[in-house]
């Protein structure tokens, strides 16, 4: 009797996992069924249009790439510098502890709040307008806690003996970090950065809040251009009543998911290479 209850519990617990897997499967199949027919070269290279059959994703794809590259450029140096400070310098100080708690709290602040911060700070106070630059600054702040966390983990994998050997040769602390620790941790840092950017590229709410426009008939050509991104274009199409636009939304989702898949594959590839290097 006791064991029958045990078995039943085990079945129920397994069933929850199956439900989660089935949902993921249903999501993918549903989007494929709705959007695959709309996917074409023309869809990838056309601009937004009022007519669903002419509309394409080019401007949004270009906008997403502009924003995400800039976000990476901002988040990488800031994130690495913060992580190096917390991991190598201020490990025991009360200030470092306070900063740590702050970062873990920031990681759980809803992304739409970052959008309000970006609107108040970058768009208005710093007068960047509703530009690619303002969007990238907002997303960089949003991505920072994750970049810091993954960089710290990468720094921790560098063996202590490397640091000690460097000190023994007379290197200063910063020389040790710059010439020994960072190069060794770099693939791990890059992996973490790509993963956090793959998060940021799917973010919609903060960019809507800073006022990224939903109808932009051109691709950005500088950091000051107004822009839209893939998720906002998808949201825009989903919100329209015509069924043909919903098809476009599904096709847009497929493009977004393909982009995410490519970024994740790059991260996995880097991690594997890094592990092989570490072994040899």
């Amino acid at each position: 009797m006791k064991h029958r209850a045990d078995l039943a519990f085990r079945v129920v617990a397994m069933a929850t996992l199956v439900v989660a897997l089935v949902t993921l499967g249903a999501l993918i199949i549903d989007v494929m069924a709705d959007g695959a027919g709309r996917l074409s070269w023309q869809f990838l290279t056309s601009l937004a249009s009022r007519r669903p059959e002419d509309a394409g994703i080019y401007h949004a794809l270009a906008g997403s790439i502009w924003v995400i590259v800039l976000t990476g450029l901002f988040a990488l140096p800031l994130g690495v510098a913060s992580a190096v400070y917390l991991e190598e310098y201020g490990t025991a100080s009360r200030l470092a502890r306070f900063i740590e708690i702050n970062i873990s709290n920031l990681a759980a602040v809803p992304s739409i709040i970052y959008g309000l911060l970006g609107l108040g700070l970058f768009v208005r106070t710093m007068n960047m307008g509703r530009s690619v630059l303002a969007g990238a600054c907002t997303l960089a702040l949003l991505a920072l806690p994750v970049v810091i966390l993954s960089t710290r983990e990468a720094l921790r994998t560098v063996p202590k003996s490397i640091r000690e050997a460097s000190y023994a040769l007379g290197a200063t602390k910063w020389q040790t970090i710059w010439y020994q620790v960072l190069p060794m941790a770099f693939p791990g840092i890059l992996t973490g950065l790509i993963l956090s950017l793959s998060r940021a590229i799917g973010e919609t709410a903060p960019l809507i809040t800073i006022g990224a426009l939903t109808y932009i008939p051109f691709a950005p050509d500088s950091v000051w251009s107004p822009f839209t991104v893939l998720p906002i274009q998808i949201f825009n199409w989903v919100s329209r009543p015509q069924a043909a636009f919903k098809e476009n939304a599904a096709a847009g989702i497929l493009v977004l998911m393909a982009l995410l898949l490519a970024m994740n594959a790059a991260a996995v590839f880097l991690r594997d290479r890094f592990q092989q290097q570490g072994r040899s």
């Binding site: 006791k2 989660a20 897997l21 993921l24 140096p77 759980a108 809803p110 799917g202 998720p231 949201f235």
Partner: protein, 293 residues
């Protein structure tokens, strides 16, 4: 002398970068507070917090935030009904039952589930789950709280299960072995020894999940509608705090007007709610870490 000064400078620059996170928090609070104070000059705080009508965009304006709060709580509540039991069961299974092979297979899938952009979940809720539910509940409207709530629950499930699993794996194996030695089955050990021992860690995970649900935006903006409504009926359209911010941001409400300031006031309330939940969650996790160190 020169190198030493250079080292000092580097340390200072690194500290400045690390301090940026503190400035970010301060910036969030400042931006929200400035606009909220402006807002509260024109609308009394009592009306804002206790009013039951939210119509800032209509001619006859009312600024009672309760319908938005109720909408947020209803959708989050539904999400929690899905995410908490399922997440906990999944965590118990992964931590106490699953063979290594299954865990290696399931964990990446859960990670994928957590990594799907929320706008995609919104599409899924509106185009797949709502029509499916309408077959069961024909009275259900095309926009409603139930469908985005369920989908949000599935989205949050990986967060609950991975944090709860971490907490359960941190429970010393001596406790499990003691229970087995007394003749307990796996289920008895899991439910009566491991889960209670990991209680504060699991609670921390649950609270973080609530905070995540309250702040979730795109699923509700797409699938729940845009009608602020004080209701507990999961079948009718309603609006959450986050969806309202999106709605105003999409429109062309001029800056500096009262309508425009409402999004900062609502944002402030949202920030305070999630920040409070996050603090409690962090505190619980710290306590849990102390218990087993």
């Amino acid at each position: 002398m020169q190198p030493r000064r250079f080292e000092r400078l580097i340390e200072f620059l690194l500290l400045a970068a690390a301090a940026l996170s503190v400035f970010t928090t301060a910036g969030i609070i400042l931006v929200l507070a400035v606009e909220t104070i402006e807002f509260l000059r024109e609308v009394s705080i009592v009306e804002f917090l206790t009013g039951t009508e939210w119509t800032p965009l209509f001619a006859n304006r009312h600024f009672g935030v309760l319908p938005l709060v109720a909408g947020t709580l209803l959708v989050s509540g539904i999400a929690m009904l899905v995410a908490l039991p399922m997440g906990l069961l999944a965590a118990v299974y992964l931590s106490e039952y699953a063979p290594d092979g299954v865990r290696r297979l399931v964990k990446p899938v859960l990670e994928v589930l957590a990594g799907v952009p929320t706008v995609v979940y919104g599409y899924f809720a509106l185009m797949f789950v709502t029509p499916l539910l309408q077959r069961v509940f024909p009275q259900m409207s095309g926009f409603n709280a139930l469908s985005p709530g369920i989908v949000m629950g599935i989205m949050i499930l990986p967060l609950v299960s991975s944090l709860s699993e971490d907490a359960m794996r941190a429970v010393p194996s001596g406790l499990r072995e003691g229970a087995y030695a007394l003749g307990a089955t796996r289920m008895q050990t899991a439910l009566q020894v491991v889960v209670p021992a990991a209680f504060s860690g699991i609670t921390a995970a649950f609270i973080l999940a609530v905070s995540r649900a309250v702040g979730e935006t795109m699923i509700v903006a797409i699938a729940a509608g845009q009608q602020p409504r004080l209701t507990a009926n999961p079948f009718v359209p309603l609006e959450t705090m986050t969806a309202y911010i999106v709605q105003v941001s999409l429109g062309d409400t001029p800056q500096g007007t009262l309508e425009y300031r409402t999004i900062f006031a609502v944002g402030m309330l949202l920030f305070l709610m999630t920040f409070g939940l996050n603090l409690v969650s962090t505190w619980l996790r710290e306590r849990f870490r102390e218990e087993y160190s």
